[in-house]
């Protein structure tokens, strides 16, 4: 009896061999926050909505934006865009123009008339929001989306806060502001205009009436410049000046205006005055390279023939014939540790004079917190709160310029959103906070940059300098449609899988399975080489030690 000879040919697939035992580290798919998200004050899911722009899903992009911020057209114009400073693309060529893309989407939403969905269920609890600036409106929006009833109290006759009465129309067109506010009100907000909540008692009364209160009255008190007599007709505070111009009131100040201050508000005052036909000089303590205003604002002011006298201080001002004389002196300016803290040292013998007809001091705003005495802690420059934005009185929350020295519009919007989540939690919604541990932000080295050829950033055009001073039309233009698409293509989608299949197709071991909506590593076969990770263009799959 002879046994069967074994066959000459192979008869078993190699897949019986478990090469996964060779591995010491394993790839893993994780959705991690992009650096831009980490830096964005409203926690904008930039990698997600920019990808939606790439795919021409503009409405989807807008909905993603609006999850965190009901004002993309506004933010796309005036946000200080810290996202761009954090963007991974800067290490390849230049940062992605996130802000101009945001405006592109925001403008499209307004043009198309896209509206927010009404809340799924209406809830009986109600919240009083005091102050109709970006912080208050953002909180009102987030609370309404969650079904809470909102009563909004605003002392002025229109909503918007500094967006309306501070920021000039040549940077933010009023129609855009109106459009984005109206969309929030269409969710059903009980708005009270000309309704100043005057003091702590009025606040307590609202607290009794509602389940919670959100205080967002801004920083309405202008800092006073020592040595300047504010009762003179030739002195006008910058907030009053901008509010009056924004309301379309006639300006009665003389021809030659000196603006005192070097921040963003001072630039707005100076450029507004230029549009009113005035000759303008900006006088700042800081030398030109340390002006607190953003560089582009200074450049645009210079383009508009604003004269800068920097590193100097006004010591006194008085009448001189028909006009004024400002007695000034050069100073050594020493910036301190924190923004806004500095020392100055006048330089003997450097005295000089400036001739002028009017002076507009623009040296910053303080929060008016004394009026809330007894309800909130009032020992700091701003209302004190916990990390949950709750003040000393349970159920009374605060945010925006009133409660923070981060004086930016999107900071206020972000604070409004965070407060809305906290208020909902306080009332008892059980909603989770969304938190991103800083450590896990996608680093540039996780991006396979070989997939991205160098492409210069697409910068939106400005209107011609010549025509600018004739009106208050917006200076910065929208990105052209094709440029917006090309700019979106520059985004690495850091940490957000784009389903390109590279990881799946580049695996020499067929150790990655495609699922309906993602991928899975077959641990039986993955040898742990990391080729999938190296060839991932977005940093969405990374190697992790097992165990």
């Amino acid at each position: 009896m002879s046994s069967q000879p074994s066959p000459l040919w192979t008869h078993t697939p190699s897949s019986v061999r478990m090469t996964g035992t060779w591995r010491s580290a394993s790839p893993d798919y994780r959705t991690l926050p992009s650096p831009c998200l980490g830096a964005c004050p409203v926690d904008g899911r930039i990698a997600v909505w920019v990808r939606q722009v790439k795919e021409k899903d503009y409405r989807g992009a807008w909905l993603t934006l609006a999850d965190n911020n009901p004002f993309p057209a506004i933010a796309g114009r005036i946000c200080h865009h810290p996202c761009e400073s954090a963007c991974n693309r800067q290490y390849l060529d230049e940062t992605v123009g996130i802000c101009s893309l945001e405006r592109f989407v925001g403008d499209m939403a307004l043009a198309e008339g896209w509206a927010f969905d009404k809340p799924d269920t209406e809830r009986s609890e109600s919240v009083a929001v005091i102050g109709g600036g970006p912080a208050g409106l953002s909180a009102a929006y987030q609370l309404r989306r969650r079904g809470y009833q909102v009563s909004l109290y605003e002392s002025k006759d229109q909503l918007g806060g500094l967006l309306r009465y501070g920021i000039p129309a040549y940077r933010l067109e009023k129609a855009i502001l109106d459009g984005e506010i109206q969309r929030i009100l269409d969710l059903g907000v009980d708005v009270h205009l000309n309704a100043e909540v005057g003091d702590a008692d009025a606040l307590k009364a609202l607290h009794d009436k509602h389940d919670a209160v959100y205080l967002a009255t801004g920083a309405s008190r202008s800092k006073a410049l020592p040595g300047l007599d504010y009762s003179q007709p030739w002195v006008m505070d910058s907030a009053d000046f901008l509010a009056a111009t924004n309301a379309g009131e006639e300006c009665t100040l003389g021809k030659r205006i000196v603006v005192i201050g070097g921040g963003s508000a001072a630039m707005d005052v100076a450029r507004t005055a230029r549009r009113l036909g005035r000759e303008v000089t900006v006088l700042s303590l800081e030398p030109e390279d340390q002006l607190p205003a953003q560089r582009v604002e200074v450049d645009e002011a210079m383009e508009e023939d604003v004269t800068f006298v920097t590193g100097a201080m006004m010591q006194s001002a008085g009448a001189n014939g028909d006009g004024l004389v400002l007695n000034c002196i050069k100073v050594n300016f020493q910036a301190g540790e924190k923004r806004g803290v500095f020392t100055i040292d006048p330089i003997d013998g450097s005295e000089f004079t400036l001739s002028a007809d009017a002076v507009i001091p623009s040296i910053g705003q303080d929060a008016d917190i004394t009026r809330w005495q007894g309800v909130v802690a009032d020992d700091g420059p701003v209302v004190g709160t916990g990390s949950d934005w709750q003040t000393a009185t349970p159920g009374v929350f605060a945010g925006g310029d009133l409660a923070s020295m981060d004086r930016f519009v999107t900071q206020a919007i972000g604070m409004g959103k965070q407060a809305a989540v906290e208020i909902a939690r306080y009332i008892g919604s059980g909603e989770d906070r969304d938190t991103f541990p800083e450590l896990t932000i996608v680093p540039y080295k996780a991006i396979s940059s070989d997939y991205y050829p160098d492409v210069a950033r697409h910068v939106p055009a400005n209107t011609d300098v010549a025509g600018r001073l004739e009106n208050f039309n917006e200076v910065q233009q929208r990105l052209e449609h094709t440029d917006a698409l090309a700019e979106a293509e520059r985004c690495f989608s850091c940490g957000t899988c784009i389903f390109c299949d590279n990881c799946y197709l580049y695996c020499p071991d067929m150790a990655i399975t495609k699922l309906e909506n993602g991928y899975e590593v077959k641990s039986d076969y993955c040898k742990g080489c990391g080729l999938c990770v190296a060839e991932c263009p977005t940093g969405s799959v990374m190697m992790y030690e097992e165990g």
């Binding site: 074994s6 066959p7 040919w9 192979t10 008869h11 078993t12 697939p13 190699s14 897949s15 019986v16 061999r17 478990m18 090469t19 060779w22 591995r23 396979s448 070989d450 997939y451 991205y452 390109c500 299949d501 590279n502 197709l505 580049y506 695996c507 020499p508 071991d509 067929m510 150790a511 077959k522 039986d524 076969y525 040898k527 742990g528 080489c529 990391g530 080729l531 990770v533 190296a534 060839e535 263009p537």
Partner: protein, 291 residues
């Protein structure tokens, strides 16, 4: 970003024994799935032979004939003729060999098959050395590269096999790279449709042989293409040259620095390679211009 568009029909199995991260296995995956089921492979000793086999297991879902190192192209010719005799005219016969089995030990068989214009698709996985036997030099090893048998760097240049093949005036010759998967798949697809002798030389950065990191073989191949060290092009009928990439966009240093086999190089050594690459590139462009 260009998306890869080949489809995996399961012709190559997991569980094979290529080094983790090996792009020879990756290229095999692309080629087998592009050629399809109606095919027979002939494989002389090489990493591919190891990857495909390991009796009684196979990682490849088509028949594979393991032949000797000298006779890849001759065996493939025989297999093709046998299939023709049996009426299987459309079955693709692939000969998959290493550079040792192609540039050196199998060159005679390859030249004869080319001269006879045999209807086979010959794939050379060019890892620039005898790698499955531990990394000795072959005539494909480039100038200055260190191998087990040229520890100080090889002092002659890489043999130009394309020019040898072109001299045979065969219908189709192409270079390809695992970094350019769409291009590789398109070339296999094109070759499959051509009657007669087709040769595709695929650059395979070998992890242990070249001293490349486990996750970096695709990137190394990409740098090879982009620096012009390994240009992607096609030669039809031995005379018509076509480039498949835009140009040479980076210095050779970007390619060399990813590999330990060049780590002994001085700046002069790098410059010598750059100058060789520049001259070869120029000569190639002249051929393209004439064709």
């Amino acid at each position: 970003m260009e998306m890869i568009d080949y489809q995996d029909d399961g012709l190559f199995n997991s569980g094979h024994v290529a080094c983790g991260g090996c792009v020879e296995a990756l290229s095999l995956r692309v080629i087998l799935n592009t050629v399809g089921k109606d095919a027979v492979a002939v494989v002389p000793p090489s990493c591919t032979a190891v990857i495909c086999g390991g009796y009684p297991m196979s990682s490849v879902n088509i028949p594979v004939f393991h032949t000797t190192l000298e006779s890849g192209a001759a065996s493939a010719s025989g297999v093709k003729r046998a299939l023709m005799a049996k009426g299987k005219h459309d079955t693709t016969v692939l000969c998959i060999a290493g550079d040792g089995g192609t540039y050196d030990i199998g060159l005679q068989a390859l030249s004869s098959a080319a001269e006879r214009n045999e209807d086979i698709l010959y794939i050379c996985f060019d890892n620039e050395g005898y790698m499955n036997t531990g990394g000795q030099k072959s005539s494909s090893t480039p100038l200055n590269a260190a191998t087990g048998s040229t520890p100080g760097g090889k002092d002659t240049r890489k043999k130009n096999l394309i020019e040898i093949l072109a001299a045979h005036r065969i219908p189709y010759i192409a270079t390809a790279s695992p970094s350019h998967v769409n291009d590789l798949a398109a070339k296999v697809e094109k070759a499959k449709g051509i009657r007669g002798m087709k040769v595709i030389i695929v650059l395979i950065p070998c992890l242990p042989g070249w001293g490349v990191a486990d996750n970096a073989a695709v990137k190394t191949a990409r740098m090879g293409v982009e620096s012009g060290v390994f240009p992607l092009f096609e030669v039809e009928d031995g005379v018509t040259y076509t480039m498949n990439t835009d140009g040479k966009s980076r210095p050779v240093g970007d390619y060399l620095s990813l590999q330990k086999r060049y780590r002994h190089l001085t700046d002069d050594g790098v410059a010598a390679i750059q100058s060789e690459v520049d001259q070869d590139w120029q000569r190639l462009q002249q051929r393209v211009a004439v064709g």
